[in-house]
């Protein structure tokens, strides 16, 4: 199949493409599934990170 006789290499070739397809399906299915909120703790963390970055 596809000019590749070794089943394990063929599996890797198709497996790599399949992994990407799984990623696409996952992203589409979960697109809005999780909560999307920034907590005060998140903001505090980002301010601290920004401070270090700016100093740098």
């Amino acid at each position: 199949m596809l000019g590749i006789d070794d089943p394990y290499v063929l599996m890797a070739y198709l497996g790599a493409v399949s992994m990407a397809v799984i990623g696409i399906i996952y992203g589409l299915v979960r697109r809005n599934a999780a909560r999307d909120e920034v907590t005060p703790e998140d903001r505090l963390w980002a301010l601290d990170e920004k401070k270090v970055d700016d100093d740098f």
Partner: protein
């Protein structure tokens, strides 16, 4: 080498235009919203494409494209298993299972670096210092791999010496990372990511088209299995579309253990514990943003690592069909019907006589598998008449066996010159986006995790910017020195594999254990990290023949052997990760089981939900 290499004024203008565009985007970024943290501060979200491509551009470097692509040119498509693991572990498992717990734990504990995350999770200054030191000491090895990859390509493409290319590359890197490019400027990363995507799509399509389509190209390569050079066949190479021979206890299985344990597992699993990638999760706004980045990330990695592995392998078919003609004398017929033979390569001297080309290291005549196209009569140096054959060979013949040069040689020989410049920009982009993160990590490891922790005995201090900048300079100098001095077989892929494997064995159990288990203890984590690192370094210095022989200690204790297990086939090819990672995991479990659990108040802080 093949083709015509030169650097014209158009090339210089295109490269400068790209560098200015990158600089301009960076400058625009500084004026407004620029880093992931800025997005988070503003309560907004970076577009998932920007987040994913920026992550991918940090993940993928010249090491993957030139180094591992070249290894695929040598060993074949079995390396595609690394693509499977890169997407499976590096994107799916990392984003879906580790991303959110890392983000939450980092924010709960106020951690900003990977060592700080571990140190605060386990309430241990020692763990933070340990992790910071390991990163500071060994990250330059990985940076050297990235730098070597870019420099080899530039040297090949523009016909300049490797040393000159390395110097230019180092100067561009210094100009990029020292004044501020070290910040995760997401738009710049994204521009770099898009250049990489364009280059890889074009490269993949062009290669398949030039070989008659997907199936035709693969079939041509499959039919070339009898042209595998003898030294590789003796290690278990069975063709470029076949897995290496699998088994244990004979040298004919060495290649399987090298490809699968060092290159596929070492790098494939090691990506989960890459400090510069783990911290990216903490800058993400929410779980939803992580979920949305998965598809883009998966496709990006497929293109970035799948393409060079496929193209690297197929370069053998391309050179065998279209490569420059080589001449020589038949030494052994491989297949009379297909007119394939093992040929002693020859060159014509000024007198018109043909003499053997000698290997500069061994002074032995160079032999290569060849598909013969022409046969003529010629005279050798002694005036004797012989049959001179002309034909084409596999990729490694044209690069004198140097895997690191296979992708550059293929691009230069097979692709239009303008694409070589675009590809160089893609490599520059891949290198810069990765190196900015590498040197940022080196800087924070030295300043925040080492200097502050050691000098202030655990109390918070303002980060020492001077130490960070100094560490970046030192890291850069070390990386350039390593690139300059170490030029061995597929060194780019090996350096990358060493660093990834070391990170996996030292950090992975403690990192994942800290995310998912409340029972893992400080002593367990520290013991696990110590065992993982010690076993890895011991294995590299005394067991794994290729690395051990380069380090040189093993020869001193074994009277010249390249491994303590040199008399036991396959052991010297096994990667440290196979021993060190299970040892590290077992240590984590056992030591945690017999030591006092962490206090409940701290665990409530780590896992408030």
């Amino acid at each position: 080498m093949t083709g015509h290499s030169s650097v014209g004024w158009v090339d210089i203008v295109v490269i400068l235009a790209y560098l200015f565009a990158t600089g301009y985007l960076g400058w625009l970024g500084y004026r407004g919203t620029r880093s992931a943290a800025d997005f988070l501060v503003g309560g907004r979200s970076a577009h998932p494409i920007i987040m994913a491509v920026s992550y991918g551009a940090t993940f993928i470097s010249t090491a993957a494209i030139v180094g591992f692509g070249g290894v695929a040119g040598l060993f074949g498509m079995s390396l595609l298993w690394l693509t499977v693991l890169n997407i499976g572990f590096g994107i799916l498992i990392a984003f879906i299972f580790l991303g959110e717990p890392t983000r939450r734990l980092g924010h709960h504990l106020g951690a900003h670096t990977f060592p700080e995350l571990l140190g605060r999770r386990y309430q241990s200054r020692g763990i933070q210092i340990f992790a910071g030191a390991l990163i500071f000491l060994f990250m330059p090895l990985y940076a050297a791999a990235v730098m070597t990859g870019g420099s080899i390509f530039a040297a090949t493409q523009f016909g300049i010496d490797f040393e000159v290319a390395l110097l230019i590359f180092a100067l561009i890197t210094a100009a990029y990372v020292i004044p501020g490019g070290i910040k995760a400027v997401m738009y710049t990363d994204t521009l770099q990511g898009f250049v990489m995507v364009f280059a890889m799509i074009f490269l993949l399509i062009f290669t398949y088209m030039s070989l008659g389509g997907i199936t035709e190209a693969h079939q041509t390569l499959t039919d070339m299995a009898d042209m595998v050079p003898a030294p590789l066949a003796q290690m278990g190479h069975q063709g470029w579309t076949a897995m290496p021979a699998f088994g244990w206890g004979a040298p004919t299985y060495d290649l399987w253990w090298t490809v699968i344990t060092a290159l596929v597992l070492g790098v494939g699993i090691g990506v989960l514990a890459q400090p510069q990638l783990v911290v990216r999760f903490m800058t993400v706004r929410s779980r939803r943003e992580l979920d949305r980045a998965v598809p883009i990330g998966a496709v990006f990695i497929l293109l970035m690592v799948g393409t060079p592995f496929v193209v690297g392998s197929l370069s053998n078919a391309w050179f065998a069909q279209n490569g420059p003609l080589l001449q020589g004398k038949v030494v052994e017929v491989i297949d009379a019907e297909k007119d394939r033979a093992l040929v002693e390569l020859m060159q014509q001297g000024e007198s018109g006589a043909w003499t053997a080309i000698l290997n500069p290291k061994t002074q032995a005549p160079v032999r290569a598998p060849m598909i013969i196209g022409e046969r003529t009569s010629a005279q050798d140096g002694d005036g004797a008449t012989f049959e001179l054959v002309a034909g084409r060979s596999i990729a490694a013949t044209y690069t004198k066996g140097d895997a690191d040069k296979i992708i550059p040689a293929f691009i230069m020989a097979a692709m239009p010159h303008w694409f070589g410049v675009i590809f160089f920009l893609a490599l520059l982009a891949a290198a810069m986006s990765t190196m900015s993160s590498q040197f940022h990590t080196i800087g924070t490891a030295a300043g925040r995790d080492l200097y502050e922790r050691i000098s202030d005995k655990g109390h918070q201090r303002e980060p020492s910017i001077l130490v960070m900048r100094l560490a970046i300079m030192i890291g850069l100098i070390i990386a350039v020195t390593i690139s300059y001095t170490v030029r061995q077989e597929y060194v780019i892929a090996r350096f990358t594999a060493i660093f990834f494997g070391l990170c996996a064995a030292s950090f992975l159990p403690a990192y994942i254990g800290g995310l998912v288990s409340k029972r893992v203890t400080r002593a367990g984590a520290l013991a696990s990290m110590t065992v993982g690192m010690s076993v890895s370094l011991f294995w590299l210095a005394f067991i794994k023949a290729r690395e051990a022989s380069a380090i040189g200690l093993v020869q001193l204790v074994t009277d010249g052997k390249t491994s303590l297990l040199a008399d036991y086939p396959n052991w010297p090819s096994v990667d440290p990760i196979i021993i060190a990672l299970p040892a590290s995991l077992l240590t984590l479990i056992l030591v945690s089981a017999v030591t006092r659990p962490p206090d409940k108040a701290h665990l409530r802080r780590c896992f408030p939900d």
